[in-house]
């Protein structure tokens, strides 16, 4: 019996290995960009590809993380995009990122074309994911969730032709912080963990000493050929981190000075493993890298024999000249004081051509937004008519306001978008802890076709680039939370007083008291009553007296 099992086991393992050799691939890379001579932008990308002849329904996982695969199967997820970000990507200084992400947590999921109850799966999935990543994603409830129409198309192949957006759900939590506890489960999804390759640089304590940190997971189905008869699934895990290298002592940086780790040779399971550098032309790297691909110095990590510490020497003279990259930037801020308020975004187009963009904004339900106040004009006063206006007003405690606009950003112009809202009230149980901290409006999202941006984009593989603006902190009227305490005190007093007298009344035995014991006051009252009665009787007897 035992022997039989062993044989079956051996055959099974062999077959799996063969299967994997054919179908699985794992690519790891890290790209290091020096921005403005004072920031280092490191982008780690780990891609797992799994080729299926049929549907994604594995019984055995090899390189693909099983924990995630099971969730994808259970909740019929066709495409998953999840990012968690600490800090703000500063477009106007750093240009476009490899992978954009708004402040806080963002999750958008396309469900399978034959999902019956999308909302149920969505709630289930967010809860499961929050367990997986130790994040409060379960707070993405129906009051936060929206279904965008134009901003978030599937990035891969979507079954059933033209996507129907009823299978899409989108939610953000701007208050969510990215911590080590989120980072650890994320790293556990990698085939080699943080033991080899680029991932060996990921030192949590150092990552949090950065200007910007973002982790992301993207799962999608891709076409193998243009006719899309054959597909495969792809899981992208990436992490972006921006270090300050301009301030203070470490003008010249080494991997050790930034990450406190050296880079280890490639993960043995990987198909490709590279480290890329993009540094100013007058900077030097040691040990030297010779291979150049599209402005990047590329080093294959399979060729490394031992842990390596790359040292980059920068030319300090560039430091003061801050190069502002041209392109499109967006800056949003809340307007107004008191109960009335608004949201204003100034969208700058530095490009020499007009660009059509999709603007997407979610506003919480308790900020009663009015569409008629929407104003779109350039700073010079030229009114812009949006091509498409898609506005879904909020339902109280049910769903947020959703505003989606398609319009043209004029060349070399600042376009200002304005919309007004009235601050609403929430019941006192609805306020989160630290209620006086305020509420967040999630960042506005600008979706721009990559074609329009040309060389400015760092990520040429995706069709669109997204630019997120700031998360906005809004204060709404907050009750005095010491009031319940006062109310309790008052209620207790009332109860004590009422209870005392009631108790007194109900537990005493009432007895007839002889007139001898009458108190003088009672006597007086009785005498008065008697007198009144007499008078009334007298008047009744001879009514003719009164006229």
């Amino acid at each position: 019996m035992k022997l039989k099992l062993l044989v079956v086991w051996a055959i099974f393992i062999q077959s799996v290995v063969v299967h994997c050799k054919e179908m699985d691939a794992y690519h790891e890379s890290v790209t290091m960009d020096v921005i403005n001579n004072n920031k280092l932008y490191s982008f780690f990308n780990f891609t797992t590809i799994w080729d299926f002849s049929d549907k994604f329904a594995p019984h055995h996982y090899n390189l693909f993380p099983r924990t995630l695969g099971e969730l994808i199967l259970k909740y019929q997820v066709a495409e998953l995009h999840f990012t968690m970000t600490q800090g703000l990507w500063r477009n106007h200084q750093w240009g476009l990122p490899h992978a954009s992400a708004p402040t806080g947590a963002q999750l958008w999921v396309w469900f399978d074309g034959n999902t019956v109850d999308v909302d149920k799966n969505w709630i289930g999935f967010t809860n499961a994911l929050s367990g997986l990543f130790c994040a409060s994603l379960n707070f993405i409830n129906k009051a936060v969730t929206v279904t965008p129409t134009m901003s978030f198309f599937p990035t891969g192949a979507f079954e059933g032709g033209y996507p129907n957006n009823k299978f899409l759900r989108y939610g953000t939590l701007s208050r969510e912080n990215l911590c080590t506890e989120n980072l650890t489960p994320w790293m556990k999804l990698l085939p080699c963990g943080s033991r080899a390759g680029p991932a060996s640089l990921l030192n949590p304590s150092q990552l949090h000493h950065s200007r910007f940190l973002s982790i992301g997971i993207h799962f999608m189905t891709q076409c193998q050929s243009p006719d899309c008869l054959k597909t495969f699934v792809e899981l992208q895990q990436h992490i972006s981190v921006v270090f300050d290298i301009g301030s203070g002592t470490h003008q010249d940086f080494t991997l050790r000075s930034l990450f406190l780790h050296l880079i280890k040779p490639a993960c043995p399971l990987a198909s490709t493993s590279v480290i890329k550098f993009k540094v100013p032309s007058d900077a030097s790297i040691s040990p030297p890298i010779k291979k150049i691909e599209e402005f990047y110095l590329v080093q294959n990590l399979f060729e490394l024999t031992s842990d390596t510490n790359y040292k980059v020497k920068l030319n300090k003279q560039h430091l003061e000249t801050i190069h502002i990259p041209e392109g499109i930037t967006s800056h949003c801020f809340p307007t107004g004081l008191g109960l009335e308020g608004g949201l204003r975004c100034s969208l700058v187009n530095n490009l020499p051509k007009n660009v059509t963009v999709v603007f997407f904004q979610v506003v919480p339900w308790f900020l009663y937004t009015q569409l008629h106040t929407l104003k779109l004009e350039t700073e010079s006063g030229h009114r812009i008519q949006p091509d498409i206006v898609n506005f879904a007003p909020a339902k109280i405690r049910e769903s947020p306001h959703k505003l989606e606009l398609v319009f043209m950003l004029l060349a070399q112009e600042v376009t200002v978008l304005n919309i007004q809202f009235t601050r609403g009230f929430q019941t006192w149980t609805e306020h989160p802890p630290d209620a006086n901290h305020g509420y967040y409006i999630s960042p506005a999202c600008l979706t721009i076709p990559t074609v329009e941006l040309g060389n400015l984009s760092r990520d040429h593989s995706s069709k669109v680039q997204r630019i997120f603006s700031e998360a906005l902190l809004i204060t709404i009227p907050v009750p005095d939370f010491s009031m319940p305490y006062n109310v309790i005190c008052l209620v207790c007093t009332v109860i004590a007083v009422a209870f005392g007298s009631l108790h007194n009344l109900t537990t005493r035995r009432l007895q007839k008291v002889s007139p001898k014991h009458k108190s003088p006051l009672k006597k007086k009252i009785d005498w008065l009553l008697e007198k009144i009665c007499k008078k009334a009787l007298d008047q009744e007897k001879n009514p003719s007296d009164t006229r």
Partner: protein
């Protein structure tokens, strides 16, 4: 009921007792037992629990100041250069404003410059503002300190909120232009350009004012516009940190008095309280922080004072104070919401809360209310006595059984009726109509006063006088014209009495409401008005001239004149110019700083006073 009836004749005494009780109560507020010690309500502030990392030396700061003072270049350019070198994001904002409305009215230009230290781990959702006013004729030596601080902050990792260093020109106009643009609002007479960058919601701010290159102690300025005050916790943080770094601290130049006798103690605390209230009455702010408070941001001003006899504490200490306050504010998880927003400060270590200072005012206002109530009750008693008498006569007639007697009674009633008709002919209108006519007229006059300054220029051309004199003339003329117009409609005794009751209640409500917004103003008005108005009861003909004099004494015009007499320090030559200056200042503050004082006097206080003036000239009866 009979008890109340007995009290009625003594109601004036009771009211006067209440009034003086209120004043005594107010004076006792600064007593040790009543004022409370300041404490921190917000635990997150943790003031002074961190080591100071400010490492610049006095010489370095001095050198930075010298660089900025370079006469060959603009201050703003130097500031920009320095902040860029320190690695800050630097932006500029241009704005225009109108400073004067009377006389030399022209639009002026200004520039604000601000640098942002981005907190490394935050997403620019919250920030702290450190405001350094660029003094147009002097140098603000705090610039060197904050620039040194900004350079260091840039490298420190513990900042959770962005820090904005705002160098604003032209006093409060610059700060307002910047704040308006920050919040996307517009307010006359400042118009400002858009801001290119922001740093989220401003949690708190403070202004540093250093006119000399040495510092002996720091004076804290708290008063905002129209009686607004910063949260007491922010004040406490500033006091605590200044003390920790070994400097003396004062509020309105009043220090915590040393151990002394109870009388001296109460005297010195009372002095400080009154100083603060004097500032609040005017409804203007004592520093740039007022603009922040107006925009819903808790803020305070640190003003350094140098006295050679006290010695110099040095730039570094002030730098550490600024750093310490910023770090405390950096610790905040929520906006300031605990502690007190309504208080008066008898010293830097004590406060008088709203719960303590309202009762004395309540007593004073109660005096007016009781007076009004007593008149209503009196009128009711008179009515009921009359009806009693009528009933008695009826009862008498009931006893007469003959028909002729009934005829007599009928005749009597006829004559009564005729008499009454005659009475009605004497009084032109019922009291309600008289009240309405007087009140509407007085408020119309209020509107006239409010809009009178519009004609300043026309008058100055007509009478060929400077505009400041013309505006004073205008206001005085309208004021006096109102007095004649209101008395041209003569009230009957009944009407006068009814209007008196209404006006007393009106006064009580008005002062009560004002006191909630601006306690100092409410208290000042109550002290001025409650006692005279209690004595103005119509019907005492023999005191009529005296009553008119008392009423005129508390007219807004006379109060203005009395204040001028007080401020000119017994130099009668300057009284006239003081008087003109007073009117111009009050009007201009309402235009440029949106202080409510002028609007309040014109639209509410003056009409109320006109009503009392009308009452003094109502018909009266001689008391027997």
């Amino acid at each position: 009921m009979s008890g109340l009836k007995k009290l009625l004749p003594r109601v004036n005494k009771i009211c006067i007792l209440l009034y003086f009780g209120g004043i005594v109560g107010f004076l006792l507020l600064s007593h040790e037992g009543i004022r409370e010690n300041c404490y921190f309500s917000e635990n997150a502030l943790l003031p002074g629990l961190v080591d100071s990392k400010f490492s610049a030396s006095d010489d370095q700061i001095h050198n930075i100041n010298l660089d900025i003072l370079d006469p060959n270049s603009e201050v703003t350019d130097e500031l920009e250069k320095f902040m860029l070198r320190g690695g800050l994001e630097v932006y500029r904002q241009k704005f225009t404003f109108q400073e004067k409305f009377v006389g030399n009215a022209r639009i002026q230009n200004g520039t604000n410059i601000y640098g942002i230290v981005r907190a490394p781990r935050s997403a620019s959702t919250e920030c702290i503002v450190i405001n350094i006013p660029i003094l147009n004729n002097k140098h603000n030596f705090a610039m060197g300190i904050v620039l040194a601080l900004a350079k260091e902050m840039r490298k420190q990792f513990y900042w959770a909120k962005d820090v904005i260093f705002l160098f604003s020109e032209h006093g409060s106009f610059g700060a307002r232009a910047w704040l308006n643009a920050y919040h996307g609002i517009v307010s006359y007479p400042v118009s400002a350009n858009q801001l290119p960058a922001r740093a989220g919601s401003i949690q708190s701010a403070f202004t540093v004012h250093m006119e000399e290159d040495a510092v002996s102690f720091i004076n804290l300025l708290v008063e905002g516009y129209n009686g607004q005050l910063p949260n007491l916790d922010l004040f406490n943080v500033a006091v605590r940190l200044i003390k920790i770094h070994g400097m003396a601290v004062s509020v309105n130049y009043e220090f915590v008095p040393r151990q002394s006798s109870a009388m001296d103690d109460i005297k010195s605390h009372l002095g400080a309280t009154l100083k603060m209230m004097k500032k609040q009455v005017t409804g203007t702010s004592s520093g740039n922080h007022g603009e922040f408070i107006r925009h819903g941001i808790e803020a305070i001003t640190l003003q350094t004072v140098y006295n050679p006899q006290w010695g110099n504490a040095g730039f570094v200490r002030l730098g550490r104070v600024i750093e310490g306050i910023s770090r405390s504010l950096n610790n905040l998880l929520e906006r300031f919401h605990q502690s007190f927003f309504f208080y008066i400060l008898p010293s830097t270590d004590n406060y008088i809360s709203i719960g303590m200072y309202m009762p004395p005012l309540g007593l004073m206002l109660a005096a007016a209310a009781i007076k009004a109530l007593s008149l209503i009750l009196e009128a009711n008693y008179v009515n009921s006595e009359e009806t009693d008498k009528n009933e008695e006569t009826k009862k008498d007639s009931e006893t007469k059984e003959s028909v002729e007697d009934i005829d007599d009674i009928l005749k009597d009633m006829d004559s009564d009726y005729a008499n009454k008709e005659n009475d009605n002919k004497n009084s032109e209108a019922p009291p309600l109509q008289q009240i309405l006519i007087t009140m509407v007229t007085s408020h119309m006059m209020g509107f006239l006063v409010f809009y009178a300054p519009v004609f300043t220029e026309t008058w100055s051309q007509m009478f060929n006088c400077p505009q400041d004199i013309s505006i004073t003339l205008l206001l005085v003329t309208v004021h006096i014209a109102g007095m004649f117009i209101i008395t041209s409609y003569r009230l009957t005794l009944e009407g006068g009495k009814s209007l008196y009751v209404v006006s007393l209640l009106h006064q009580g409500i008005l002062f009560g409401v004002v006191a909630i917004i601006n306690f100092s103003l409410g208290m000042f008005l109550a002290v001025c008005y409650v006692l005279p108005t209690i004595l103005l009861q119509p019907g005492y003909m023999k005191f009529n001239l005296l009553r008119k004099f008392v009423a005129f004494l508390v007219s807004p015009l006379s109060i203005a004149a009395l204040i001028c007499l007080y401020t000119c320090n017994g130099n009668p030559a300057t009284v006239m110019s003081e008087f003109v200056n007073f009117h111009v200042t009050v009007y201009e503050q309402s235009q440029t700083q949106q202080s409510w004082l002028f609007d309040f006097i014109a639209l509410l206080l003056y009409p109320l006073w006109l009503q009392f003036w009308a009452i003094t000239s109502s018909e009266g009866e001689i008391l027997t």
